[in-house]
């Protein structure tokens, strides 16, 4: 993963704030203060969490769903939408 800028002096500064990454380079998971944990036993694969996640941080895998902690900001919408109570919100520890 490229760092956005590694400039050491004003002279080396690019003219505008450009990063040669897409928004995939913004690892918003760093912002999280609480973490959703998915209990696959309770999950019925309805996909509501995947539909409601505002950051596309829930991926649809072949037979289940997976939360990407690289991008999940911990908003908790998935947990409140889950009809099975399969997503538990726990305090983030770093």
């Amino acid at each position: 993963m490229k760092k956005r800028y590694s400039v050491k002096s004003l002279e080396e500064m690019p003219i505008t704030a450009i990063s040669f990454l897409t928004t995939e380079g913004n690892e918003t998971g760093e912002w999280r203060s609480q973490r959703p944990v998915l209990d696959l036993e309770k999950c019925n694969r309805c996909g509501l969490c995947w539909m409601y996640c505002p950051d596309n941080a829930i991926r649809s895998e072949e037979s289940s769903f997976q939360i990407s902690y690289k991008y999940c900001k911990g908003c908790g919408i998935c947990a409140s939408e889950c009809p099975k109570g399969a997503i538990l919100i726990v305090k983030e520890k770093r």
Binding site: R4, T16, S19
Partner: protein, 380 residues
């Protein structure tokens, strides 16, 4: 070719001559006829530009920013409330270092609702990082639009060309529109920016800890823009035989009293100054053409022989005074004490006559010390 056209038509002809590639605008009086004419040029195939109709001035600037990022030569025009609605994105345009050119037809901001000339709309955008020019004639409007593209594409900062609503925008004058090949020679096509590449997507203006450094670089380039404006003006002089400078002094060399103003008020001031000269009163006029970057040194130099200065503002900052007066006092700070008398006149397009200017001159001569702001044309 000489044409009899309005100030607004002068803008449209200049944008046609500059071969703008993307135009996005929303109508507002007294600007509308600029983009109406440009839409006509596009429809007739005279101008090979993408004309984008948008639902607001905010979107107009958003469209210009997006187009400019690809390196397209872009244009928009607005006035007053429309410019105020663009405010947020004006910062983005300069922060992304995009050479967008905009014509702003100065109009008073509400309330009360008013359609006429007042410079407070563009001066409220003072700190957005746009170059600001204030014009006095239809010819200067044409020439300044062409110069603005030249300068902006050098310093990579956006430029706003201001002309007063109705007084200049709707007044017909003779404007010499140069041959297209002469304009093409002076203003070659803009180069695409090498950063936008669909194969290698990138993120513009994202979060960065280097914010202060970007702002510093912008300021540094803004300072350099003064030199670039002068270079441009010299090239323009060689190509077309006309130049304007950053400031325009009229009989300032030996003047005891210098009137400082911007835009069309300068013409009336010159008439009044000449009348006083005939009576042996040494009055000069200094018109500030470039407001951002502010030509402080040039102004100090032009005022150096004066004993008194009177600044006449068609704009004001409530609770403080005229905006040009503040800037003039700020650049004179620390120099030989030169009393600055402050006048506010012509707000909301109120007519300012040579007699009004005469009262400014008389009052400045007769008052030993400046004391607060004098408003011209108030009810008794």
């Amino acid at each position: 070719m000489k044409k009899v056209i309005s100030g607004n038509q002068s803008v449209s002809h200049a944008v046609l001559a500059a071969k703008a590639q993307v135009i996005a605008a929303y109508p507002i009086t007294p600007q509308s006829s600029i983009v109406e004419m440009l839409a006509g040029f596009c429809a007739d195939g005279k101008l090979q530009a993408k004309f984008i109709n948008v639902e607001s001035e905010h979107s107009a600037m958003a469209a210009c920013i997006s187009a400019s990022v690809t390196g397209a030569r872009t244009f928009t025009a607005t006035s007053s409330q429309g410019l105020a609605l663009m405010h947020e994105l004006l910062h983005y345009a300069s922060g992304l270092r995009l050479p967008i050119v905009m014509a702003n037809v100065n109009r008073a901001l509400g309330s009360p609702f008013n359609l006429k000339a007042d410079l407070s709309d563009s001066l409220s955008q003072r700190d957005t990082g746009w170059l600001q020019f204030y014009c006095e004639s239809g010819q200067e409007v044409f020439d300044t639009i062409i110069q603005a593209y030249w300068i902006s594409e050098q310093v990579l900062l956006p430029a706003m060309v201001n002309l007063e609503g109705f007084i200049l925008s709707h007044t017909y004058e003779i404007v010499d529109v140069p041959e297209q090949r002469e304009i093409d020679h002076f203003l070659p096509p803009s180069l695409p920016r090498d950063c936008l590449d669909v194969e290698n997507p990138c993120l513009f203006g994202g979060t960065t800890d280097f914010y202060i450094n970007f702002r510093y670089k912008m300021h540094e380039e803004m300072q350099r823009a003064k030199v670039v404006c002068q270079e441009c003006d010299a090239h323009f002089q060689r190509a077309f035989g006309r130049s304007y400078g950053l400031i325009q002094p009229h009989r300032c060399e030996d003047a005891d009293l210098i009137l400082v103003t911007a835009g069309t008020l300068a013409g009336t001031c010159c008439v009044a100054a000449d009348q006083y000269r005939e009576r042996g009163v040494k009055v000069g006029v200094l018109r500030v053409r470039l407001f951002r970057p502010f030509p402080g040194e040039e102004i100090c130099c032009a005022l150096r022989n004066a004993r008194k200065v009177a600044v006449i503002d068609r704009d004001f900052s409530p609770g403080c005074g005229g905006i040009f007066a503040q800037e003039i006092k700020s650049v004179l700070q620390g120099k030989d004490p030169l009393p600055v008398y402050e006048f506010i006149a012509g707000l909301g397009g109120k007519d300012v006559t040579d007699e009004d200017i005469g009262r400014v001159i008389d009052q400045t001569y007769q008052t030993p010390e400046p004391g607060g702001v004098t408003w011209i044309g108030l009810l008794k």
